[in-house]
Symmetry: C5
Subunit: 335 residues, 5 copies
């Protein structure tokens, strides 16, 4: 399922969710995006901006203030990027896919992160949880937030990855529902459409999750700017969860595949049983039709027709033949 | 689907689409290909030639002027090459496949690029968009064009790769049409032929797109001539789009596969339903035939035939048996 | 099949299975976990703690005494980790999946090991064999136990891996049972459900076994703390057994696949035979019905009806036609 | 399809196709293989021998003169080797599979090349084109032949690889024929046998072509004797053609697979249509049989039978019921 | 198919097949295994012991004399190892699977080799050819045997690998037999069981053959003890044959797969034909039944019944309708 968002049509106010200045791990004040340019760089200082579906104007302000690369800004504006990490000089540009349950549907969004010396910019596109919880968690732990941009990056990635698991669990529940339907013989055309949608969602989520392993490996390479060695265990933890999510999805895919195989086998077994049952009854019913047909002929000289016991004897013969056939078919497991 | 072009039968004028001299990022004048030899090399100068299905004579002139390798010229003349990058001394020879929608068909062409110190030669074979747009874009940005041959190479590759996306979108639309047909029960033999053609086009486009990832990696290797480090981000961007196209195609292939699986399952479910319905009605209709057959026998002594209520009773018995069967089959979900 | 354990609800006494101090390879005394903090470090000394589904309180004590990393403790508490080796400074954190047969079901558990200078902590979650046998084996061989923490790690891993083989053997027996059912024509819907469960168990066990190869390779890398070169052959042996288990599972998967393929082919052959038999008898029975129908018509002028031999001749004709058809079908192998 | 040649039973004269001495790129004279020993080594001199299915005696002479390794000679004598490059000291031993069309069948042969300082020995086994054309091409270009043994090796490999393409084209034509048969509904049991043979030929040709990529890479490694750097572009060209052939085969395999999938889907669609048509007509014909059966009963008191309009009314009822069913089935697309 | 041998129950005499002392490539004398300890090491001297299913006592003697590692001895005693090469200090421990044809079944055994400075120990488990032929070949070539332990290792491996080829040929013959059965329409349920067994044997043999490529690569690594550089071409030859065997098996697997695909397609084509034939005849026979049913009705006023030509006209109508249907079905290729 392709990502489900289109051209942004949010108002300027909606676009800037948050824009706050931090110093030594503590929030100092909110900044108006219009005056972003007027905030000078300073050691120990960090600007954390949260955007939602920003238009070119807003992005241009951010680009100008932090000197972001035109290609990265193009990506951030157009969205519909695959999960990836790009390094432009001292800036990291990270794209992640996010997943969310809306009503009974799975919806996929996209988040972009610019991380540079003294700033973090998050850009959300399409359906996704807000990062308010991440900001709150960071602000509540100044000693961690003081670690700098790399810790915020970890907190954001951790949040995105942790949000995959309820989705995977929901998918697992759906697959188990389908399995139950299959084994209790309640699998219908509607289930097939459900299976089909689920498969697409599994593929979409796999495409969201799988690149994270390489992205984490890459983040922990010595030549990536801004990432301190002492945050490596945290990114390893994100990676570990990404691998777990990835394997969970793979298992779901395999289980769905096995379930469909089982459905196929069950259908075939059942179709064979139905065919045998039908064939058996057709054979049994063909006997009276054939015998009665013979004694329905209008020949003048048919001695049996004259016999007093002809009729009951014929009935008995018919019943006997049918009974015998029934006995044989029953013994063979057809009826 | 193999590339759809054969031996060129274009006139000399058609073969040389464009041949222009640039100096410091600005167009100086058009050159007659016949007098190509007379233009001397000069620093900051660049000759950009655009050819279409050139014959051996035209190619020989270009080869002589720029000292191109005989094996590369052979490839450029015969066409039907796979996408690849060859390095002959100081010259890059690049082959890309192009895709285009013609009527409701997908058509594939081939473009060759020679890039050397002071020249760029593009050779198009078969159906493809002209590179006029690329030339116009470059001429409109002299500060970029001044970067030299590597920037033109980027602009050409970017153009080719960007042209894949409308094709992929069109394929996606066709697959969604097929899915709709499957789930709304309108899938016919014609759709199968369409699926078959689509699969071939997917394979052809995959073969066009997939090699681009390695080609870009190779272009960004330190030992490749002419490519400056500061254009690397641009080639990384081309690579990123190529990966996106590649994954999009992979997703289409998976979705088409799932859709066909769903069709198979639906067919089987439907065939089972039809079979049960048929079997049910056959059983119901076999009852009057068998009972009527018995009372159609011509035995002399059949007491029921004499009874005044024999006929209506038999009709009632038939109706009862049929009704009972209908009730049973209906309850079992067969009718 | 996902791991089958939930939130721990064991009492404190149940959680600490064992907590013993060793010196120079010999058990010195049991330690109360409450007083763990009071046991100082000393050369040649080793504390070996065995926990089962510990709560946060117990884990906190262990963490505090040995300085374990918060991320590892989080994993150890939440469980549901994939098999992995993490290195936190001087501490190894190892997760393995364990398998066990309960009644006729396969159940999967999880074991965590912390190995550091002077201590080994084992944590079991869900169904698994206790490590009492490993402890007994180690205590019975003081010259081995004196080798230190790495030897205990080997003994634990060896025990876990050895316990996979009876499970694999039991799975093999089940698959052979299924094969027998298939080839002796006793394969029913119940078997399909069994196959389905077995497939899931095979996947789960594969996920337990496969990571062990890489884990062993990693353990034997020079930069992993605590592991002496002279225990490498022991870890190579564990790895060898893990590979054997892995290949055994792969073979089972292939054999199960082949068996199902064979079932499919047999079903299809059988369905074809049934269809031919039915078709044959239907054709034979249609003949008397059609002929008798004709002579059951009530036309005034039907000369055959008047003939003395009409009836027996018709019977003979019917018998002849049926006999001929039977002969033909029998020769064609249909009946 | 295994290679189709057995023990050689050629005469001595047939075995030595050619044995010629070259000096500075020009043919000097033919050598009698019996006197091979008497030709001394000399700078700028080259002996090029062409053998066909040689026996041990002939091979022994060549081995003795050029000091070939016993294991390579064993391979060359037994044949049935896979495509490979072996380096024995200063000698290269190369095995290639050749393909040829004989009548309407594809036949596979094997060619062995010994290349050493001052000599080239070619050995053909089974069906293959002679290398006379290669020798002629080389003798016609003394400036190339002067480049030495590596150029001859290139010319031979180029010839073998170029000969794969007509075979691939012929296979493509056969697959297109099969596709046409499938979509125009003319696919029969004979086509299945053809598909089966084609699949085997595709596998055999793939086994011939695929190893060439690695062989070329290996030839261009700095530690391979005799190969000068300035012939690298030529071997890269051979490799490029090998990759193209390999991808062409892969595409054929995929297309054949798709075509068979399409056949399966078409068959299933068609079988469903036939079943519906049959079911429809069976239902329509069952109506007169059942109604007529009822009025064929011999009850004394059946008022309808006495009515003057009974018969035409019944006929009308039958016609009406049949017509109504036909209308319903037609609307449902069954008839 | 798992290896088919169990606990050894051979007598001591049977266990030691051979135990001989060699000096400078020549056999000196046989040694009693009981006095193995009394033979001192000496330069140029080599002890070659051949064991069959040895018990712990015999193995202990060998272990003591040559100082073999306990883990390797454990493997050698328990058997059921996968093919592998282990290096314990200066000793190589090699496990290979052997294949043999017994009656019409394929049987798999296991051979273990200990190779150290001055000794070679071979241990056979289960069905396999004896190594008497290898010993004889080596003793017949003292100049080769003088090369030492590595040459004996080569001779043993060469013997094992060469013995795979007759097995592969036999499997190929069986697959060809199955193909013949499929295409000549003689494929029955028994063949399915045969296919199933063959698939398992293919898997077992693949597991025997495939690891040999890596083992040979490993043997030729500079850090492996005892293997001289001048025996590398011999191990390369073994590797080459192993690759050939591996590819042969892969081809067999693919061909068997294609054959089964062909069987499936043929069955489906045939089932469709049978269905059409049946449907055709059922339609033709339903016509007289329906028409005759109508004229079998007992209405008083049925003018046709009174007509003199009613009966023949009806017969003619029936014959005409049936003939027309036959003509139509025949033209459509159904009958
Ligand atoms: Mg997994
Ligand atoms: Mg998995
Ligand atoms: Mg997968
Ligand atoms: Mg998995
Ligand atoms: Mg599976
Ligand atoms: Mg599956
Ligand atoms: Mg399948
Ligand atoms: Mg994708
Ligand atoms: Mg994809
Ligand atoms: Mg895929
Ligand atoms: Mg995908
Ligand atoms: Mg899929
Ligand atoms: Mg597919
Ligand atoms: Mg295995
Ligand atoms: Mg395996
Ligand atoms: Mg698997
Ligand atoms: Mg296997
Ligand atoms: Mg298999
Ligand atoms: Mg299989
Ligand atoms: Mg293949
Ligand atoms: Mg291809
Ligand atoms: Mg391909
Ligand atoms: Mg392909
Ligand atoms: Mg395909
Ligand atoms: Mg092969
Ligand atoms: Mg192969
Ligand atoms: Mg395989
Ligand atoms: Mg193969
Ligand atoms: Mg194949
Ligand atoms: Mg296959
Ligand atoms: Mg298939």
């Amino acid at each position: 399922m392709l990502l489900m968002y289109g051209t942004p049509n949010t108002t300027a106010a909606q676009q800037v969710v948050n824009c706050r200045l931090y110093c030594d791990g503590r929030a100092v004040r909110d900044i108006d995006i219009e005056h972003l340019d007027e905030v000078p760089d300073a050691p120990g200082q960090l600007i954390w901006i949260g955007l939602y579906d920003p238009d070119e104007e807003v992005l241009a302000k951010v680009q100008k203030r932090f000197g972001l690369h035109e290609l990265a800004i193009e990506d951030a504006h157009l969205a519909h990027q695959r999960p990836k990490l790009e390094v432009y000089g001292d800036t990291l540009f990270l794209v992640l896919h996010t997943a969310r349950r809306q009503a009974s549907e799975f919806a996929f969004g996209e988040s972009h992160f610019f991380i540079g010396r003294g700033y973090v910019v998050t850009i959300r596109h399409g359906p996704s949880e807000t990062f308010a919880a991440v900001r709150a968690r960071c602000e509540a732990a100044p000693q961690m937030l003081r670690k700098g941009e790399d810790f915020i990056l970890y907190a954001l990635m951790d949040f995105v990855v942790d949000n995959y698991f309820p989705i995977i669990d929901a998918m697992e529940a759906e697959i188990e529902q389908i399995e139950d339907d299959i084994f209790s013989n309640r699998f219908t055309s509607d289930d097939i459409e459900k299976v089909f949608g689920l498969r697409r969602d599994l593929v979409a989520l796999r495409h969201a999750v799988q690149p994270l392993q390489d992205i984490c490996t890459r983040i922990m390479r010595f030549d990536v700017p801004l990432i301190d060695r002492d945050t490596y265990p945290y990114f390893r933890d994100v990676q570990d969860h990404a691998i777990k999510a990835s394997q969970g999805l793979e298992t779901l895919r395999e289980n769905l595949g096995s379930a469909l195989d089982a459905h196929l086998m069950l259908s075939s077994v059942k179709a064979n049983e139905v065919m045998k049952k039908l064939a058996g009854w057709a054979a049994i019913l063909a006997v009276p039709t054939a015998i009665a047909g013979i004694y329905g002929m209008n020949f003048k000289f048919m001695p049996e027709l004259e016999w007093a016991w002809g009729y009951p004897a014929t009935l008995a013969a018919i019943a006997g033949a049918c009974g015998y056939l029934y006995y044989r078919f029953h013994k063979a497991g057809w009826l």
